[in-house]
Amino acid sequence: MSIVKDREAAGAALSRRSLSRRSFLAASLAGGAVLTFDARIALAQATGAAGEPVVLTAFIRINADNSVTIGAKNPEIGQGVKTMLPMLIAEELDVAWNQVRIEQTDADDKRYGLQVAGGSTATPNNWLPMRQAGAAARAMLVAAAAKQWGVAPASLSTEAGKVIDKAGGRSVPYAALAREAAGMPVPDLATVPLKPAGAFHIIGQPMQGVDTPRIVKGTPLFGIDTHLPGMLHAALVKCPAFGGTIARIDDAAVRGIAGVVAVVPVNSGLVPPGQQDAVAIVADSWWKASKAREKLVVAWDDAAQKEFSTAGYAKQAGEALGAAPQTDLFKAGDADKALAGAAKTVSADYSYPFLAHATLEPQNCTALWTTDGKLELWAPTQNPGSGRKEVAAMLGIAPEAMTIHMTRIGGGFGRRLMSDYMVLAAQVAKGVPGRPVKLLWDRTDDLRHDYYRPAGWHRFTAGLDAKGALIAFKDHFITFGADGKPIRAAEMSSTEFPAPVVPDAHLGATYLKTNLPTGWLRAPTSNAMAFVYQGFLDEVAEAAGVDLPELMRRTLGEPRELPTERKGLVFHTGRARSVIDAVCKAAGWTGRTGPAKGAGDAVKGRGFGFYFSHRGYFAEVVDVTVSGGTAVKVDKIWMAGDIGSQIINPLNAEHQSQGAAIDGIAQALVWQPVVQEAGAITADNFGDFPLLRIDAVPRDVAITWVKSDFPPTGLGEPALPPVIPAIANAIRAATGKRLRSLPLQLT
C-alpha cells in the first residue's frame, strides 16, 4: 500500500511548502448586490527559491442567494472534468449540488495550478488539493459563524450551504457569513479535516455533465463558436510536406477579392522552430477566406522533405528488423542463450500505422493583437500553459502579455496538447492589429497537419520451458527517432511487461528518421503496446497450452509492486490479477475456445486483453462475429477496471469507459493508416480516414469496478488499450487466423 502513503505524503508536503508563503483571503464587492469572496488558497506549488511565484488559487465564490460559483480550472474535452473537479470542492465545502454554478476559469497556472487535459492526470493530481480547497473554505465559514455566535467551532456542523448550531437550535446560510469568513485565517491545508468517504454526498453520485443542457440547445460553447465584434476570419494554405518553407507567394489575385483583408505569411513553430510555413488569408467571412485559397499561388521549398514516405518507412523497418537493435532499452540475463535452450520458442512480427486524431471540431483559435502589443486568445486548448510559452516565444512577447480564455473543446484525444493553432492564430492577429481574428482549419488541413500517432514494428521471440513457463523474451522495436532517442510519443517503456519478470529478457530499439511531427493520441504508446504485447502473449499462451488470463496470472506471480520506468509509479501485480479475475467472472470466461457457429456462414470467437496504463488496471473480454469470412463485428465487451478507492462520478465513469472501449474498436477495425507520399500526408477527409459509426458499436459494454485501497486515478484513457488485442485475440479464436497488424483485416 505504499502508493497511498507516497501520494498522501506528497500532497501534505506540497501543502506545507505552499503555506510557508503568505496565503490570503480577499473580500470584495462585485456585481452590485452580490457579495463575493475568493478563498485564495495556496495549493500545489513548489516554492523553493526566493522570488519564485506562489501559486494562489481562487475557486469559490459565494453568491448573495446562497448559490456557490465554483471555478473549473482544467480544459474540458469531453472527459467530464468541468463537472468532476467542482464536485470535489463542493463536497468538502459542504453545499448541495443544486446550489452549485460552475464557471470555466481562464488559463492562469500561477493562480489555479496546473491546467492540462492529458495523461488522465486530473484525478490523481487534484483529488486532494480540490477537496482541501473546499474544506478550507468551509472551515473559514464555520470559524465566522463561531465568532458571531460566541461558540467553539468544533460545536458547529454544516449542511447544504449552512452552518448549523445544533445545541443552540440555529443555523445561518453561507452567504450571510461570506464577508466575515473572508477575514478568517486560512487553515493549514495539510491538516484541514476532510470528510471520510462514508460521508460523501456528491462524490460517488451520478452527476450530469454541467454543459449538457446548453449543448442540446446549440449554445455557443466551443472555440469555433467564438464571436467578437468586428471579428475577421482566417483560412490557411499550408505547405503539404512537413518542414517545407515558403519560396515565393503570388497573392495579387487574392487581394483583389472583395472581403479579403490581408494575406499573412505564418509559421507553425514546429520543433525545431521555424519549420512548416503557411499563408493565412484573412477575410470578413471564413467561407470567403477559404474559397480565396484557390487563387493563392505559393511555391514551397520542400525538396529535402520528399524522401519521406510510408512505403519508405516499411522498407527500412523490414531491413532493421533483421539487424541488431541500435539501442538496448532493457537487458536481463542472456535472452539469446536462454532461447537456444528453451523447450519451445514462439516468434512473430507485429506492426501498427501512423494515425491522425481527427477531433470533430477542426483546429481553431481566435486571437486579438491589441495596438499596445498585448495578445488575447480564445483557445480550445488542452494545454494552455504550453501554448502560452510557445506563442510568447514565437511572437517575442512576455508570457504575461497574454490572456488566454479556455473554451469548451470539441474533442481532444491529445491533438490539442500541441499548440500550433494558437501560435498560428497569434501571428495572424499580429498581421491585423486591433481586430480579433478567428483562424479555422478545414478537415483536410486537420488530417494533413496533425501530430501523428507514430507507426511501429516489433519482432518478438519468447521461450518456454518444458512446463510452459515463460523463461526468455525479446522484442526488437522499430520506431522513429533522432540522435539515438525516440521522438515524441514514439518511445517504449524499458519496463514493458513481461520483460521485468522474465529471467532472460532483452528489449531493443532502432530509430527511423521521419519529417512527420508526432504526438500523443489517447492512451499514447499504450494503445500500440497493448496490441502488440497482449497479442503476442496470446500466442505464447497458446504455445504453453493455456489461455491468456492464465498465462498472465502465472507471469504476474504473487501480489507485489514492480518498479516502472517512471519515477514514483509502480505496477501492482495484485491489482492486475484482481481485474483479470473480475472480468473473467463477469464474462463467464471458460478458457481458450475455438470458433462457435453463428447465423449462416458467421463464426464467433472470444478474446481477452489486459493493460496497465495511466495508473489504471483494465482487463477486457470481447465477443466478435466474423461474417462472410472477412467482416468483423464486436458483439459485446466486458471490462473490469481498478482506478482506486472511489469512482467520483459514476455516470461519467461509464461514459468514459464505454467511449474508450468503442474508440479501441475504431483503432482495431475502422481507422485506416495515415499514408505519406513525398513528404506529405495524402488523407483528404473522412472518406479516406474513416471514423467509427453507430453500426460498428457493440450492443453492450459492461463494466465491473474493482475497488481498491489506492487513491482514485484517471479514466480518460486506461480503458482503451486492452480492447485492441482482445479483438485480435477474438478473431484468432473465431477464425484461426492471427492478425498482427493494425487495422485488423481478414482477407
Binding site: E76, I77, G78, Q79, G80, Q208, G209, D211, T212, P213, I215, V216, K217, G218, T219, P220, L221, F222, I224, D225, H227, H233, S285, W286, W287, A358, T359, L360, E361, P362, R408, I409, G410, G411, G412, F413, L440, D442, R443, L651, H655, Q656, Q658, G659, I662, D663, A666, N685, F686, G687, L691, L692, R693, I694, D695, V697, R699, D700, V701
Partner: protein, 153 residues
C-alpha cells in the same frame, strides 16, 4: 444576392453568394452557431439541419437551394414536439461527452423519429449512420432515441 429563408419560424433575408453553403450562412450571417462544421463534405453529419422537415447536410446545401424553405436548427428544434422529446431524452441520459456532434445527432434523430416513430435498433443504425461521434456516445444515442420514441430498450 438577397435570399429569403424561414429559419426557426422567422423570416430572414440574407445577402450572400448563391453557392455559399447554408452552414456558413447560419453560422456567419444569422448568428446561429449551434450547427457545427466538421468535414465540409457531407461525411460527418455535424452540420445536420432540417429543411422542410428532412435532415440535410447544411455544408452541402448551397443557400440558393434553401431559398423559400423552412429551416430548423438545433437552436429551435425543441419547438417541434418530436424534437422536444429527443432533446429531453438527450438530457435525461446525459448523452454528450465533448458535445460537438450532438446538434447534428439531435437533428438526425428528430428526422428519424418523425418518419419512423417506433424505430428498431436497425432503423436507428440506418437513420443515424451519417452522424459521427468521435467520443463514441453511440450506446446512449441508441438508448435516447428509444426513450424519445417510448420504445423499450
Amino acid at each position: 444576392m438577397a435570399i429569403s429563408l424561414t429559419v426557426n419560424r422567422k423570416k430572414r433575408v440574407v445577402d450572400a453568394d448563391a453557392d455559399k453553403p447554408l452552414l456558413w450562412v447560419l453560422r456567419e450571417d444569422l448568428n446561429l452557431p449551434g450547427t457545427k462544421f466538421g468535414c465540409g463534405a457531407g461525411l460527418c453529419g455535424a452540420c445536420t439541419v432540417l429543411l422542410d422537415g428532412n435532415a440535410v447536410r447544411s455544408c452541402q446545401t448551397p443557400i440558393a437551394d434553401a431559398a423559400g424553405k423552412q429551416i430548423t436548427t438545433i437552436e429551435d428544434v425543441a419547438s417541434l414536439p418530436v424534437g422536444k422529446k429527443v432533446v429531453d431524452a438527450w438530457v435525461d441520459l446525459d448523452v454528450p461527452q465533448c458535445g460537438y456532434c450532438q446538434a447534428g445527432q439531435i437533428m438526425s434523430a428528430t428526422a428519424l423519429l418523425t418518419q419512423t416513430p417506433r424505430p428498431s435498433a436497425e432503423d436507428i443504425e440506418g437513420g443515424m449512420s451519417g452522424n459521427i461521434c468521435r467520443c463514441a456516445t453511440y450506446l446512449r444515442i441508441q438508448k435516447a432515441i428509444r426513450k424519445a420514441a417510448g420504445v423499450a430498450a
